[in-house]
């Protein structure tokens, strides 16, 4: 009797760990072991199939001597910062507007959310036409009488990446809005009322009281959006196919082309490692601070 209690106690102690173990093992293999494999390939001479030899940092040297990779890295930073900033800002604005006891809120919410639901393989085509100077916005405005109006970013190598940003913002803002809206709904109305009684206007209340209270929502939005930004892949392929020239190349498209189209698996793996290191440099400190906070009993 005593023994069985002790056994069940011990089981109860170990059960949580046992339950977590399969997930941990699977992730260790499917994430970390595979990263290690990629790291190994990046040090090998692999071209069409994996080759398990060792050539040192040759592939990294080759990678960084490729002009297209430099474009890809620059684009990643332009794209990510603009995408994160605009999506967060616009999402917050939409959430605040929607939170003003609006009629037809449900319909508007659906309108802002639907782009997430559609595959970019085809919405990319629609955007391609809209942004095309001879077919889309520019033509419509020109036909309406403003003939000097020019909006041809998509054909300008220097500006095409901003078109990608526009389409990406369009696709993901609804999600940010939903999270912010949720955050706003979670805020006690009495806080706002109290401030209003003291004579503060709505803009001031939002700026100084409500937005700071949304900090957790901001964190969720940024984690989820960074995930989307890193994965931006079919977006590029469908909208610009990395053109004009290779002006909208991104690390994910670079890696894909190197590995699967150009028979440079080693270079592809090296670019994947560079991407992972960048992500780790940004995400690991964030995770660390987040988790430390929890440990402190937050």
């Amino acid at each position: 009797m005593k023994r069985s209690i002790r056994f069940s106690d011990r089981l109860a102690n170990w059960l949580p760990r046992l339950v977590l173990t399969p997930s941990l093992l699977v992730v260790l293999v499917a994430v970390y072991l595979f990263i290690a494999w990629t790291g190994w390939i990046s040090l090998s001479s692999s071209n069409i199939v994996p080759r398990y030899d060792f050539v040192g940092l040759e592939q990294y040297v080759r990678l960084w001597s490729t002009p297209r990779w430099h474009t890809a890295v620059a684009n990643l930073f332009i794209f990510s910062s603009l995408f994160l900033g605009l999506t967060t800002g616009l999402g917050l604005l939409m959430a605040i507007l929607l939170d003003q006891r609006i009629r037809a809120e449900g319909a508007l919410r659906a309108i802002f959310l639907y782009p997430m639901a559609l595959s970019f393989i085809v919405t990319g085509t629609a955007w391609k036409w809209i942004l095309n100077p001879a077919l889309g916005v520019q033509k419509v405005v020109n036909d309406a009488g403003w003939t000097s109006f020019v909006f041809d970013w998509i054909s300008q190598p220097r500006f095409a990446i901003y078109c990608v940003v526009i389409a990406a913002v369009w696709q993901s803002t609804g999600f940010a809005m939903a999270i912010f809206l949720a955050g706003l709904r979670g805020i006690d109305n009495s806080v706002i009322k109290a401030a209003q009684i003291e004579g503060a206007g709505l803009p001031l209340i939002y700026r100084t009281i409500i937005v700071p209270m949304l900090r957790p929502a901001f964190l969720s939005v940024i984690v989820l959006l960074s995930y989307v930004a890193i994965k931006s892949f079919d977006l590029i392929l469908a909208l610009t196919n990395t053109g004009p020239g290779s002006a909208t190349e991104m690390p994910s498209t670079f890696m894909y082309a190197a590995t699967f189209r150009r028979d440079q698996m080693g270079v592809g793996a090296a670019s994947a490692m560079m991407m992972l290191m960048t992500v780790a440099a940004i995400i690991v400190p964030y995770l660390y601070s987040e988790l430390k906070e929890t440990r402190d009993g937050c």
Partner: protein, 292 residues
């Protein structure tokens, strides 16, 4: 006094006008691509090639929709998107249920049964969110081949479940952090065990976050192309792979109207999920997912 009220009224009215104006402008911007997609899908192909990419159709036809659903060719198999739609359904349901279930129990352990290192394990799981999937395709293919699951829908379900765990665990962990520990302690005193507490206390409170997790996973898995094209073949392909084949023709003419209709058909389940469950989505997020 009266003047003051009136001016406040006016201020209020202009404020409301601004809010509605802003929202309507945004809505118009958001609907623009949908407008292009839908008008194109009901145009005749010749009309499109004559230069009418944007604008109203001269004549409305639903041929493209019929063709996309039951006739469009994916290689030599001209059965439309229907069979692949069914493949996707067969694949997405178990993948969503499995990944959400695993995420729920992981979140429960990490928040309510903390043990030394549990936070570290959470961090390890979470980093998986940020893995560029293009990098893991080949080793994953080798693993699936080793498991005998290469080219099957079961293999695809496994892959989606594995890479879904990171996000679902994050969702549930953030939700369960907000559930008071006392609830669990009280149940323990009443003699409830690990599983009992999970099933009869945690899960019922977790309904909103289950909705969020399911919607997120459903969208991600349904719209995935990369894994689909890598780990299935031919008749087992999910709808995104078939859609890509309908849309991406190399040395032949593009049937834009069929493409657009096909895209709408492929997106319909997620659209429905967003429209029907959209309210619960925001409610679920409100209830906890944003506690970061």
């Amino acid at each position: 006094m009266a003047a003051n009220v009136r001016s406040r009224h006016r201020q209020h009215a202009t404020g409301r006008a601004l809010i509605y104006g802003g929202l309507l402008c945004l809505a118009a911007f958001y609907l623009m691509p949908l407008w292009v997609i839908i008008t194109t899908s009901v145009k005749h192909l010749d009309e499109i090639y004559a230069g009418s990419f944007i604008g109203l159709p001269k004549e409305i036809t639903f041929d493209a929709w019929r063709s996309a659903w039951s006739e469009a060719c994916n290689g030599t198999a001209c059965k439309g998107l229907k069979p692949y739609f069914i493949n996707s359904l067969i694949m997405v349901v178990p993948a969503v249920i499995l990944s959400t279930g695993i995420g729920a129990i992981n979140g429960y352990v990490i928040t309510k049964w903390r043990f030394p290192g549990s936070n570290f394990i959470f961090g390890i799981l979470l980093f998986g969110c940020f893995l560029p999937f293009q990098a893991v395709i080949l080793p994953m293919a080798q693993t699936l081949g080793f498991l005998g699951l290469a080219g099957t829908l079961a293999g695809l379900v496994l892959v989606h479940t594995v890479y879904g765990i990171a996000f679902t665990t994050l969702f549930f962990r953030n939700y369960f952090v907000g559930v008071p520990d006392e609830l669990v302690k009280a149940a323990q005193i009443d003699g409830a065990g690990f599983m009992r507490i999970f099933v009869s206390i945690m899960l019922p409170t977790a309904l909103p976050i289950i909705v969020v997790s399911c919607i997120w996973q459903f969208t991600q898995i349904w719209n995935d192309y990369l894994f689909g094209v890598s780990f299935t073949a031919g008749e087992n392909a999910p709808i995104t792979v078939a859609l890509n084949n309908v849309v991406n023709v190399s040395m032949g003419r593009k049937e834009y109207n069929v493409d657009m209709a096909a895209a709408m058909i492929a997106g319909l389940p997620t659209l429905i999920v967003y429209i029907v469950a959209g309210r619960y989505f925001v409610r679920g997020l409100t209830a906890g997912a944003v506690k970061g």
